[in-house]
């Protein structure tokens, strides 16, 4: 349904009387056309009033055109609103000041909606949107697509329920039914209005301190929905409130909560406007040429034991280029501080958290790789590229499943000849039962792990030296 018909008239009248804003009224009348919600607040208010007037006089179907019809500017008349200030439970209503009678649109005080607490009113206006856009611009992000996420205070679910019960009752009088799912969701309507004005992920968190206590009655009605708060400040989380609303019986709800919901004195407050970009993944292979470089920073008791680390040497330049908040370094296995990484290099990946820049061409990546390689002779990087999150999983698979190749220079006390070590070449699939080495015993469980050395090849050097090449199972100490 994208238009209001005469049968909506009693509902519109009722909601208008009890302090509900035009957009919420449209929601409860299941108006599904996004464009309508984007029309200016005052136009919507005016049109609804006209709709009501017309329905009083005669039975006419009013359609809301997609294109704004030329309209007469009508001032919001305070006296008219004052008369409509019927309130079923005697709570205080906000009475607009009578002094503003003479001024036009700019000064008209709008009653804060008793259902959305101003979110579909004030927070759809250009001013607020501008504020959010400014925040985004100042954070200096580069992006293509976005997600707009909105966090609403939980008591809105309670007020929505109360309004629905009210509307359901009214429609019941006409012999009509209204399913909860037919009503347009508040969050959805809000996004319809705001979305076209945005790009990228913006999250807005709203709060309404004045009505924060409204959820309390749910705790006594449905105690098992609310778990004691650990770190969170409030037990009344959105999810818990929604769960409780699903459980509570209609009669119980009406006993504890005013229906229609009371008109609030204050607007919602926009607590947080946050910008966030999805994480970006950069992968490659690194070679380590230093025998004095740990993979991750080596710090004991706040004291750095060795200067720098593989992770820092690589990520330093990536953090600068992508302008990220932080990073997570991972690799397919590790090597000791005093071990070199040769050959093609060890696969690694860096997750850059909340990057400001996300677009890099292959050329730019090559340039970044060169910068890293020029900055240090301890490590070198190759095949630097942007990858997806799945790639990290594949790389980690390597840790368990792949084989590792090592080369060790061996010194012997006894003098040896070539023939003495030849037998090593013939050993295949040698099973080892390895106890946890002492050097890691403080941070690994004591266990015996079965590991296999697949092949070995030795290279005789002299009577006391030979080089041993090994191909082992992943995870061999």
């Amino acid at each position: 349904m994208s238009s209001l018909t005469e049968k909506d008239s009693p509902v519109v009248q009722l909601l208008m009387n009890t302090g509900t804003c035009p957009r919420c009224i449209l929601r409860f009348c299941c108006v599904g056309s996004q464009v309508i919600y984007r029309r200016p607040y005052k136009d919507l208010m005016k049109d609804l009033k006209e709709f009501l007037k017309n329905n009083e006089e005669k039975e006419v179907t009013i359609c809301f055109d997609e294109v704004d019809p030329p309209c007469k500017r009508i001032r919001l008349e305070h006296t008219e609103e004052g008369r409509d200030d019927l309130n079923h439970n005697g709570a205080l209503q906000q009475i607009p000041s009578a002094n503003d009678d003479d001024t036009a649109m700019k000064n008209s005080i709008v009653k804060i909606c008793n259902v959305c607490l101003g979110i579909l009113q004030e927070f759809c206006e250009a001013d607020f949107v501008k504020k959010v856009c400014q925040k985004v611009k100042s954070a200096d992000y580069q992006f293509t697509s976005f997600v707009f996420s909105v966090s609403l205070p939980p008591q809105l679910s309670v007020r929505e329920r109360a309004a629905w019960l009210l509307v359901k009752q009214e429609m019941g009088k006409l012999g009509l039914s209204l399913a909860k799912d037919d009503i347009v969701q508040l969050k959805e309507a809000y996004k319809w209005i705001i979305h076209p004005q945005f790009l990228f992920e913006v999250s807005v968190v709203f709060a309404h301190p004045e009505t924060e206590e409204e959820c309390r009655f749910l705790a006594t009605a449905c105690p098992d929905c609310f778990k004691p708060a650990k770190n969170k400040q409030s037990v009344f989380t959105r999810m818990a409130v929604i769960k409780a609303l699903e459980k509570i019986k209609e009669e119980d709800f009406l006993k504890h909560f005013p229906c229609p919901p009371s008109s609030p004195k204050n607007l919602c407050v926009a607590l947080e406007i946050q910008c966030n970009n999805g994480a970006i993944f950069v992968a490659g292979r690194y070679n380590k040429y230093s025998r004095n470089l740990p993979q991750t920073p080596w710090i004991i008791d706040g004291e750095r034991k060795l200067e720098s680390s593989v992770e820092e040497l690589i990520s330093e330049h990536l953090m600068a280029a992508f302008k990220a908040d932080s990073f997570n370094f991972s690799s397919s296995g590790r090597e000791d501080v005093d071990v070199r990484t040769l050959g093609n290099g060890r696969p690694f990946a860096i997750e850059l958290v909340n990057p400001r820049r996300i677009h890099f061409t292959a050329e730019e990546m090559k340039g970044l790789q060169q910068t890293i390689n020029n900055s240090s002779d301890k490590i070198q990087v190759r095949d630097l590229q942007l990858v997806t999150r799945e790639a990290i999983g594949r790389m980690k698979e390597g840790e368990e499943e792949k084989t590792k190749t090592y080369s060790a220079l061996v010194w012997t006390d006894e003098a040896i000849q070539k023939e003495d070590i030849a037998f090593l070449d013939d050993i295949k699939e040698l099973k080892l039962d390895q106890k946890t080495p002492l050097r890691v015993l403080h941070r690994r469980p004591l266990a015996v792990r079965c590991r296999i050395i697949h092949t070995m090849k030795c290279e005789y050097i002299d009577e006391h030296h030979f080089r041993l090449h090994l191909k082992t199972q992943a995870g061999t100490y």
């Binding site: 002492l438 050097r439 890691v440 015993l441 403080h442 941070r443 469980p445 004591l446």
Partner: protein
């Protein structure tokens, strides 16, 4: 005196290996080990020590004077080896049960007695309570 009979090797990661000190009688010429017993009391055998997980839960906790094992030699002497440090017993060396000579031939490596992990908070004080090689030799020379 008991401190000088044992040797503690502490790696930079807090793990301690208990071994016989150079000057221990058992390492002097002429001694033959007849038995090594990890059953130190009716209820406690070091062989039953079982640890699990990173934090080595289930480990027998040792104080300085906790006996690790008793070693008998052919000349009728019995020596008790004490832990000398506080910490969790990770394991005792079972290889020396089947091959006691190992204890005498390679006392600082394969012939170790036990592996102990001190509590994180106590690891510094444990290390400080030990003697360096030089300090040890000085003590010996004064005997």
């Amino acid at each position: 005196f008991s401190q000088l009979q044992h040797n503690n090797y502490v790696s930079c990661c807090r793990i301690c290996v208990i071994t016989l000190a150079e000057a221990h009688p058992l390492l002097q010429n002429g001694k033959t080990i007849t038995s090594i017993n990890y059953q130190i009391s009716a209820n406690c055998s070091r062989l039953q020590n079982k640890v699990s997980g990173k934090s080595k839960r289930g480990a027998q906790f040792l104080t300085e004077l906790a006996p690790l094992c008793r070693i008998s030699s052919s000349d009728g002497e019995e020596y008790t080896i004490y832990s000398c440090i506080r910490g969790r017993l990770i394991e005792v060396n079972e290889n020396i049960l089947s091959n006691p000579v190992l204890l005498q031939e390679k006392p600082s490596t394969e012939g170790y007695i036990a592996v102990v992990l001190p509590k994180f908070e106590e690891s510094k004080s444990v290390t400080q309570g030990l003697l360096t090689q030089e300090e040890y030799e000085e003590v010996l020379s004064k005997r």
